[in-house]
Subunit: 548 residues, 2 copies
């Protein structure tokens, strides 16, 4: 993939090449940092970040980032050094997404829900020279640092009480607001490092580039309709895929980012009403929280609020309830490896003629490529060819484009496996619909084969989620002497709901699905979840085996 | 500006480089053609183009473009060959913006208002192998071709009656809808050639790249708020800077483009109401037409219509009248050299407290950088340093970024002069305001912008000097409510010569230049000169203003 135009050896340059080389005037390596420089120059007085009573303008945000960058630079942080951060959705977390790349250094946002050992692993594996820690997470940081022989320099946001730490506001105070950053010499340069919890083994560190983050920011803004009049509420943790690249997307669009430390329904409604929030992203649990908010927590608001949900499809009930409140839901799909959202379930012309129920079903699909993704496909695992767009043939969902990670840090084998054959192999199994939307039918491990029939655990879960008492449902395979495997359902019920009996749940399922798909076993109780709220199916598989 | 990561000689690669090279899965050269491929896959059933009774879906647009590309390929058109087009704002004009780049060929849209000699010059200079001509412009094309020793292959849209031409619909019928295009191997590859009328000498051909067009498309979409729910009305000629890059911007956003052959107020209102148009771009003449439409031509509409205006600032009267009708005006600034808009006069927080009149004055500024432009500055011509942002010191407006042209075709001297010192020198003189907006105070190049078309005063003067009675000629801009500006000629006649009438001078001009360049006002008398005999144009500009 050559990026310079050179004449064929010995020959003269083509007339559309000669004298038309890249110059400083017309070629600048792409970097999301440029969005902030432009924002500060173009609308410096506009509010970039709101956090409680704090208001940070675009000019001030740029000023603070340049100060942090110059102070880190004075302490020896430079090109391709790693700066980790353990923080909530705070202004400092937004700042880190610009100040660190400004130095050509690599930002490594850490999941605050992880255990100390995993944090320590990430710091060691990523080679962090600096760890920025918010006071609220100082305890976790101290325990992680205690496990390290050579701990990084610690910068403390607020009063964290970590021995030997530098105060973050000191970096600001001592820093140079005119710090002359230069941007990466090469837009392919590494920008971010995000550890993703695999199903087995150590976490893998997905590496982003300046180019990818710049393009994903624009792709998000165009696809989700962010503009200078938008206010974006941070319900999604910024340590997830760098907040799906929204710290950069919001700044590219000139929007206002509203911080939220603790995701609670009352606070979400208050901020939406108070700051005229127009956009938010989150996991299904956030939507569930909003939809089931108590009357005294709710606030009405005149604007439409666009909600992007990823991780699992929103249920009919959630969509209906939230649409009635003034929310507009879009289901997204992506991964840490794809800078967050790669596909979005965009409205199709024929939706207008659908019943609400049919429309909700369509909205649950993973959808179509974002504007900046090159392509999405569904590949037959046998032939390697795309499956027909018939909505029924199952294959692996694969993605390709500039918004796919560079690879996993220090893990060429995993990189090679995951980015083989010109595609990022997601490992998710799905179908391709005639209208172009892809739909996940199961993660490759989650297909249950019962009596020779394939059962998608997801499909069974969707039905279970419609039961009025059910908050979370997980279906796994249970070994069975007769059928090979049978579906086993684990249910967590809504607070205050009556726990249904197994017979009642089975009867409910029989009304809504083919007989062979109905769970043979139903267990109610709290579900085991990861720090990021993902249900730990491997734990449930073990339990199901014990039941057999 | 290296774009590949290579380890330092003899050393091992850095851990953020090793095993993280570009791959087909994560690196794709940017090209605006990819937006159409994605649109066809993501929302094939959505309407991409409306033209009278015709409706072209995204799937069908992609299909047609692939057919045209395959047919042109079969006739030998390939990488870096030139395909010129002389057409109105038609579906075929949109198609050309994708079908030609699909081949790696260069599209050369021609201004249908030019004279045959200038058209012939462009065809020769650009080395056009193919000229696509719409029937309405067949006469002009035939006269231009008549001046050429080796005319290109002609493709006729509709029944043009040009001898030896191929029918465009034949290219579609014979073409392959599955044509496998590959995109450019290098995103810096040339994509478009746009001739711009300079102040002296022959027109210069500004060359665009795939990378630049891709980024400008996204920059337009983000800055102007284009989305999948937008309908864009084509009041701006698509031959102007490739329609300010909107053919690509609309497709990137998944919007619908509404064609308009003849810009008339009744038709504009009808299309806005009928197709729920949300966006349009145009010269001040278009806004003037809308604001002054007769009552029977007007239609009311429920949606807000965003209007981007470039070429000259909209007047207070125009803004007020149009805001009352439901339009929202944004003033843009740019040039052929910057893929269309480079800056936009975005709303600032303090506008809310301004009186309408004060706000209209702010809105007349050229504004701030688009999201995808790296920077705008105002440079002191003496020192080469930025002027202070005080709103009074005058300097040259300069632009830098990936959305600046590669250069002028076959004109390294002009390219070198224009893109020197890391900036594109616009030649426009202006001030820099404290809020970041730039504002033009004068044009250094004597360009008059009338109805959105650039007129070189020098070119008009050259023609006037050929009149037997004229000794000195000076042409300046005269403010005009309808056209923004019109050319105003001041003539000093030879001693003893009969002073020609205005009508006579105008008739003389019409024989020798394109209609839109002909002066609307002619004043005869002694010209004010400096002691060294230089004509004092600033005195004449004042006189012209008084005539207005």
């Amino acid at each position: 993939m050559p990026d310079t135009e050179t004449p064929p050896e010995g020959g003269a340059a083509h007339r559309f090449e000669a004298g038309l080389e890249k110059r400083a005037a017309n070629y600048v390596p792409l970097t999301p940092v440029s969005f902030l420089a432009r924002g500060a120059s173009a609308f410096g007085a506009r509010i970039a970040v709101i956090d409680g009573e704090r208001r940070i303008t675009y000019a001030s945000l740029y000023d603070r980032c340049r100060r942090v960058a110059s102070s880190l630079s004075a302490r020896g942080v430079g090109r391709l050094d790693t700066v980790a951060i353990l923080a909530s959705n705070s202004p400092e977390m937004v700042e880190a997404h610009f100040a660190v790349p400004m130095l050509g250094a690599v930002l490594n946002p850490l999941n605050t829900r992880l255990d100390p050992a995993t944090i320590a692993f990430s710091l060691r594996h990523g080679g962090a020279q600096v760890l920025i820690v918010e006071a609220a997470h100082a305890g976790l940081a101290a325990r992680a640092l205690g496990e390290m022989a050579e701990p990084p320099l610690v910068v403390a946001i607020g009063d964290g009480g970590i021995a030997g730490s530098l105060p973050y506001e000191g970096l600001i105070a001592d820093g140079d607001p005119a710090h002359a950053w230069t941007g990466p010499g090469d837009e392919w340069q590494s920008l971010c490092l995000l550890y993703t919890s695999g199903t087995t083994g150590d976490p893998k560190g997905a590496v982003y580039s300046h180019r990818g983050a710049y393009l994903q920011a624009l792709g998000n803004a165009v696809t989700f309709g962010l503009s200078g009049e938008s206010a974006y509420l941070w319900t999604l943790p910024m340590f997830h895929c760098s907040g799906w690249s929204y710290p950069w997307a919001c700044v590219a669009a000139g929007a206002t980012q509203v911080c939220l430390r603790k995701v609670e329904p009352g606070e979400i409604f208050r901020l939406i009403a108070e700051h005229r929030v127009t956009h938010l992203c989150g996991a299904p649990i956030v939507l569930s929280m909003i939809a089931h908010a108590a009357p005294q927590e709710r606030r009405s608001f005149p604007q439409a609020v666009r909600v992007a949900v990823g991780g699992a499809a929103p249920s009919s009930t959630i969509i209906r309830t939230m649409e009635e409140m003034g929310f507009r839901i879009t289901h997204l799909y992506g991964a840490t490896e794809s800078y967050g959202p790669a596909t979005a379930c965009l409205a199709q012309p024929d939706w207008a003629a659908l019943s609400d129920e049919a429309r909700y079903q369509r909205m649950a699909r993973q959808g179509v490529a974002l504007a900046t993704l090159d392509a999405v496909t569904v590949t037959d695992p046998e032939t390697g060819e795309p499956v027909p767009q018939d909505g029924s043939r199952i294959g692996e969902i694969r993605l390709r484009g500039n918004t796919i990670m560079k690879g996993y840090l220090g893990n060429p084998d995993a990189t090679g496996r995951t980015l083989a054959d010109g595609w990022y192999a997601t490992g998710d199994l799905g179908v391709w619909h005639p209208d172009g939307a892809v739909e996940i039918k199961d993660r490759s491990k989650d297909i249950i084969i019962s009596g020779g029939e394939n059962i998608s655990s997801l499909e069974v879960e969707e039905v279970l989620m419609r039961h009025p008492a059910v908050m979370f449902a997980a279906v796994v395979s249970r070994p069975d002497a007769t059928w090979g495997e049978t579906p086993c359902a684990f249910l967590e019920t809504k607070p205050g709901a009556d726990v249904p009996s197994q017979d009642e749940v089975i009867a409910f399922c029989r009304e809504h699905m083919a007989r062979f798909k109905v769970p043979k076993t139903v267990v109610c109780g709290p579900l085991p979840k990861t720090s990021t709220g993902k249900i730990q199916k491997f734990v449930l598989r073990d339990r199901a085996r014990e039941l057999a």
